[in-house]
Symmetry: C2
Subunit: 164 residues, 2 copies
DNA sequence: AACTAATACATGTATATACACGTATTGTAA
DNA sequence: TTACAATACGTGTATATACATGTATTAGTT
């Protein structure tokens, strides 16, 4: 795949080629870099697809979370704790989605501190179309078996074991 | 580990807890989310350490790349192609490093379009101290064997196989 | 009931990301 | 040799990230 960046065109597979480095302190350190690089690569591929729908990666993530509870309303903190990147500024992401009329904001009756968010019909439509596209791409770009995927899941959870 | 975020405190290990979701379309999709989440987690842990040295993750990355060729000078594009996140805006990262006197800019004699960058003594000192700290943390937070790390490396490279 | 702490979220700032574009310099071709 | 394309990198814009702070509301304490 050719990814256009500001300064370079890349077409790479191995980490050594990707970051032009051959000496790693250990396999563990290399794994750390590999995780960071693979995440960047995944985000780049997905963002490219989402762009067609006028969505960023994080905007899509918020829509997907809302869909998970739809037609229930969700408050900002419940969305935030489901985000992949926990430090995302959810109110601001909702700002952009609201401008595009993909979600609606309202003040909660039960607790007036809370802002409750709901998907609009337009939001549902955009989410469904983009999800369909994204799933197709996902299947295509991740040529691994369910068993291999399971191994990755187990190993990554072991990596994070000491979340202390 | 307790990570302070704008809205929440988290103390989690399993992806299901991390993003409050139990239904994944497949192990492959879960692996995608796991990679994204683990990368965010790693960056957060490393950034916390780097903060003591007044460095961001990407600023550290640029210093590390410069060190790899030191005392050779490097131009901006050679730094860019070694970055983990390829879309980083390297000139701007160098701006911040220059303000902190950790690197020096000069125009290349051979090609006047190029800006060549070099580490200052202060830059070397800060890099060495932060690397020492970071390596200790790395060893501590990634409790996996070299063999397990190798598996991760092989699997992630398989994930990116279709970089087409 | 009044006071204080905690919670929810909006907003502000510095930096980074993603991408477009402008300017200077170099390479290439008519 | 003059034009034109390519390259290098700085700069501008919108959004996101990371974090601090302000305001309104609720919960808890005396």
């Amino acid at each position: 795949m050719e990814i256009k960046c500001t300064y370079i065109y890349i077409c790479i597979v191995k980490l050594e080629q990707a970051i032009q480095s051959t000496k790693f302190k250990s396999e563990v350190q290399k794994a750390g870099l590999n995780i960071l690089y693979t995440a960047w690569w995944l985000k780049t591929v997905m963002s490219r697809e989402l762009k067609e729908f006028g969505l960023t990666h994080e905007q899509y993530n918020v829509l997907r979370i809302l869909k998970g509870k739809h037609p229930e309303l969700m408050c900002v903190k419940d969305i935030a704790c489901r985000m992949i990147e926990k430090s995302s500024n959810v109110p601001r992401i909702i700002d952009r989605l609201e401008i595009k009329k993909l979600v609606k904001r309202a003040t909660s009756e039960a607790d007036k501190r809370e802002t409750v968010i709901s998907l609009t019909q337009s939001g549902i439509a955009v989410l469904e179309a983009s999800t369909k596209q994204l799933n197709a791409v996902y299947d295509d770009i991740m040529p691994i078996s369910e068993e291999e995927a399971s191994s990755i899941n187990d190993l990554l959870e072991k990596v994070r074991e000491k979340e202390n």
